[in-house]
């Protein structure tokens, strides 16, 4: 958005379009005035250049240091072996086949077995036999391979790669690669009709006859070993379209083969599935129960008989919970606020600016939100060639905003698809009392201009990786209904409209520092000046934000025909300190210091503590359960509610006396 630090944000500081005394001065006088301020101006420029250099050096230093900093996510996280889907290929030069035969330059590659690997799946039927022949010492039984063994894969054997792991929002798409880890977690048994699932075009799309075939045949019982790939899976509340890998051995019935696909029904959950390759029946012998490890660490607790469950009443769902805040629907509202301030300086004038805006939005779902809020901007400046000064303010005005935040698919440095934040927003603003007033006390000149402004602001951003974020933004202001009151009758209201468009990129240098670069063009209607704006912003721990800003004039309108282009170049800077993080850190320290260790519960020094009751007052009391010294009130004897003051067990250090309330 345009901030009022644009050169000439106020009235034309040269006074060329106003009735200022400098307007009536001759060109020679104005040039003399400019020259008289040259030394002062050069000094300020030098200061700004130094500031820019310091910022640049800081940027370079932190950028250089970044290599020393362990980035948050710069390396692929090594998943457990069971979830590494891409077979690991090792070149012969890298492999260390300690157990392999010492052959010189074997033809082929080496492969290291992992959890879940199956010979036939990896190499195919013929390939598996070839691999076994090539590694007779390591693979004596083709069905028994050991994790970690590195084997030679002959050159003519192809390793069937599993699909690369693709991160998708599974709950929404229910497509893509999936692992089936929790059989029975969402059962079809008694929840969903098989017939509907089989005939649904979204699931299997079978005809009624085909569905009847699948449902009518009990089928052969087969064991699907861990690692088996399914092509689709239906469960209690949905359907998964895409490769599904079983992560544990499961029993199923092979129901039918239709269209080259084998239809299966799992024993444990009645879930339906299809697979491309027919499963081979596995003799189902009762598996021996493995002997439990000797002397388990802890004695398992005794089986506790649960009291009989009362017959369940029809569930009506939990009652509505009263809201915890003054707002009726707490989750549906969000608030954002932005403030900023800065200074600027060019060859003709210098000034300050500040602004603030807020937006209270209602979430509409799917990332959309619509909101309203206030907008305010103001500034002041002074000419460097005369005593002319001015102040300006947009006044408080309303704005309406529509925005959407969502997650877009991006490809990370490992070639994986990841979901990262993206969004856009549109804001419309109305300022009914835009005001500029200025004057020169030496000449007695004074003017005040009022008008109205309508503005539109738009922004789009995408995070391309964990380190980089890119965005574009633009803003346009239309000015109308301008009026002026001036000591010079020739003054006319200026058109105070403007527009700008920017692109920006933000880079995370390390955990503490981020840098943002902004480049854009801007146009201001009152003097028809076009600018190229360049801004660098450094952000330290979201606490300190600062940076320089440079505006280069792209043209030189007639208004400035007697002035060098260099004088239209504007240098600016902004700084903002956010103390929220420091306050929260201090608050945490105060809270932590409020904890004082008193001693162990058995410590007699404990103020007010009474020695615990004897644990073994009698053999029956072993274990601390003391059914003695209890005076049970006769049933029905107590009818009145016992208030806390009469109930010493309740009024304790935990009771009202210790509560001071917020």
């Amino acid at each position: 958005m345009t901030h009022p630090n644009e050169p000439g944000f106020g009235p034309d500081p040269t006074g060329s379009s106003s009735g200022d005394s400098t307007h009536t001065a001759t060109l020679a006088e104005r040039r003399r005035a400019v020259r008289s301020h040259k030394a002062k101006r050069d000094l300020k420029r030098l200061a700004w250049i130094l500031l820019g250099l310091v910022a640049l050096i800081a940027f370079l230093v932190f950028f250089a240091k970044r290599d020393d900093v362990e980035p948050l996510v710069s390396k692929p996280i090594t998943p457990p072996a069971a979830t590494q889907m891409a077979p690991e290929k090792v070149t012969p030069a890298e492999a260390k086949p300690a157990k392999a035969e010492p052959e010189a330059k074997p033809e082929g590659t080496y492969y290291t077995f992992r959890d879940g690997d199956r010979m036939f799946q990896l190499f195919g039927k013929s390939g598996a036999l070839k691999v076994q022949q090539a590694n007779p010492e390591l693979i004596k039984d083709i069905n028994r391979i050991r994790k970690g063994d590195t084997v030679l894969v002959p050159a003519d054997v192809k390793i069937h790669k599993m699909p690369a792991f693709r991160i998708v929002d599974c709950s929404r798409t229910r497509k893509g690669f999936c692992e089936y880890r929790n059989p029975g977690g969402d059962k079809m048994c008694g929840v969903r009709s098989h017939e509907k699932a089989l005939t649904s075009p979204q699931e299997y799309g079978l005809t009624a006859e085909q569905a009847a075939t699948v449902m009518g045949d009990k089928g052969e019982r087969v064991l699907l070993p861990s690692g088996t790939r399914l092509s689709a899976l239906s469960f209690g509340h949905g359907h998964w379209q895409g490769p599904v890998v079983l992560m544990k051995d499961m029993l199923a019935h092979r129901k039918a083969v239709i269209g080259g696909k084998t239809y299966l029904e799992f024993d444990a959950c009645c879930n339906l599935a299809t697979m491309e390759v027919p499963p081979e029946p596995v003799p189902l012998e009762p598996e021996p129960i493995p002997e439990p490890p000797p002397a388990p660490v802890e004695e398992p607790p005794p089986v506790i008989p649960e009291p009989p469950q009362e017959p369940k009443e029809p569930e009506e769902g939990p009652p509505p919970v009263p809201p915890l805040s003054a707002f009726p629907v707490e989750n549906e509202l969000e608030w954002e606020a932005i403030v900023g301030a800065g200074v600027w300086n060019n060859g003709l004038a210098n000034g300050k600016w500040w602004y603030g805006e807020g937006l209270l939005s209602v979430k509409l779902g799917d990332g959309y939100s619509l909101g309203i809020g206030p907008f305010y901007a103001a500034g002041k400046g002074e000419s460097e060639t005369s005593a002319y000064t001015w102040r300006e303010s947009t006044g408080w005005g309303p704005q309406v905003g529509l925005k959407r935040n969502y997650r877009a698919e991006q490809t990370d440095e490992f070639g994986q698809t990841v979901l990262l934040p993206a969004g856009w927003q549109l804001k419309a603003r109305f300022l009914s009392h835009d005001k500029v007033s200025g004057g020169n006390p030496e000449s007695g000149y004074h003017n005040t201009q009022w008008g109205k402004k309508i503005g539109v602001y738009g922004e789009y951003f995408e995070r391309k990786s964990l380190d980089w974020l890119y965005g574009v933004s633009g803003e346009i202001w239309h000015y109308y209904d301008g009026r002026i009151r001036s000591t010079w009758s020739g003054d006319k209201p200026q058109d105070r409209g403007s527009w700008n468009a920017n692109v920006y990129a933000q880079y995370r240098i390390n955990d503490d520092w981020q840098a943002r670069g902004i480049a854009g063009v801007a146009h201001q209607n009152w003097d028809r000046l076009n600018y190229l704006n360049l801004t660098a912003e450094m952000r330290y721990r979201e606490t300190l934000m600062f940076g320089p800003r440079l505006s280069l004039a792209l043209n030189k309108p007639d208004t400035y025909r007697d002035i060098g282009r260099g004088d239209l170049t504007t240098l600016g800077a902004f700084v903002r300190l956010e103390l929220g993080g420091i306050i929260r850190q201090k608050d945490r320290e105060v809270r932590e210091e409020s904890v004082v260790f008193v001693g162990p519960t058995t410590d007699p020094v404990d103020e007010g503590a009474v020695a615990p009751a004897p644990m073994s007052a009698s053999p029956e009391a072993e274990g601390g359960y003391l059914p003695v010294a209890y005076e049970a009130p006769p049933v029905g004897a107590e009818q009145a509610v016992v208030p806390a003051t009469e109930n010493p067990e309740v009024t304790s250090s935990w009771g009202p006396s210790s509560d001071s309330g917020p």
Binding site: P300, L577, D587, P600, D659
Partner: protein, 298 residues
């Protein structure tokens, strides 16, 4: 006072005092000024790191029974690896109310469970019934883990309603398994003074301090402290505008305590899930061992 002075005062108020008052929910009886406070239940996270070290607990004047950790999303949302205590309450047939606490016991017999400690009893009487409650007392469960309907406002303000509710929906202490040895377990715990009261906890000092350091953002000033940007710029106008925005924005900040409506970071959610899953697997393993032992008996 100058505007800068007001700003400094505002920041100073945030840093000292105002934002650190303890939070508690009171069980009362009666209305208005006539209301009597029956029980005060702290809701600061540090207060859930242990049990309030009351005379009853010191003296062994309590009973412990086994309850089921409710399987509702709200209950799991309130679970935390460092949270020892959960809310509970008990009422006798006579209407007498007993302070009760639920202590997470892990997975026993394949099911997540509580030890429900009821003060003021030496024996799990049949006519004393108990329920467990969500952190802010907005949901209630019997000791089998079944959710029961509750009017949260009445629950907090009416002893008659509490008696009627717990009598109707609560679980008799005699109907569930008693637990022995709780007093012995307490002997290994430590006592800490916190700003909200004295607690006994099995956690070490660092963990108690960590929990104490959490700003739960229940009260308005806690929300301000927890959310304010407190932006200071060279110009007092934008500084003041920023502070006004902070004060307005604080009204919409969600709490960060242990109640199920609080928010937590996704990394914390992931950590909690990982710990709970490890507990579940350990529980499942011991469950299988028990089953195998049972089968192998002649």
């Amino acid at each position: 006072m100058s505007k800068i002075g007001w700003n400094v005062l505002f920041v100073a108020l945030l840093v000292t005092g105002c934002a650190t008052a303890p939070n508690a929910i009171r069980l009362t009886d009666g209305e208005g000024k006539e209301a009597k406070v029956v029980r005060s239940m702290g809701i600061d996270p540090v207060m859930f790191s242990g049990l309030p070290w009351t005379d009853a607990l010191k003296n062994g004047n309590f009973v412990t029974v086994l309850g089921v950790f409710p399987g509702t999303p709200e209950s799991y949302a309130e679970w935390d690896p460092l949270r020892i205590r959960y809310q509970a309450h008990a009422v006798g047939a006579s209407g007498r109310e007993y302070a009760a606490y639920a202590v997470f016991a892990g997975f026993i017999n394949c099911v997540p469970r509580y030890f429900v400690v009821v003060e003021g009893l030496q024996e799990p009487l049949a006519d004393v019934k108990a329920i467990t409650l969500s952190t802010l007392l907005t949901r209630a469960y019997d000791l089998q883990g079944k959710e029961v309907k509750v009017d949260a406002a009445k629950l907090q303000n009416s002893a008659a309603y509490r008696r009627e509710l717990i009598e109707r929906e609560g679980t008799s202490l005699a109907a569930v398994r008693p637990i022995q040895g709780m007093q012995r377990a307490f002997d290994g715990w430590s006592v800490y003074d916190t700003k909200s009261g004295r607690i006994a906890t099995p956690l070490d000092e660092a963990k108690v301090k960590y929990l104490s350091g959490i700003n739960p953002q229940y009260s308005y000033w806690e929300k301000v402290t927890g959310s304010a940007r407190a932006s200071v710029s060279p110009d007092y106008v934008s500084t003041s505008v920023g502070i006004v925005f902070d004060l307005i924005a604080a009204t919409k900040v969600k709490a960060q305590g242990f109640d199920y409506e609080s928010v937590m970071s996704r990394s914390q959610q992931g950590y909690n899930l990982a710990v709970l899953e490890a507990l579940r697997q350990a529980g499942e393993k011991s469950c299988r061992i028990a089953e195998m032992k049972e089968r192998s008996r002649p």
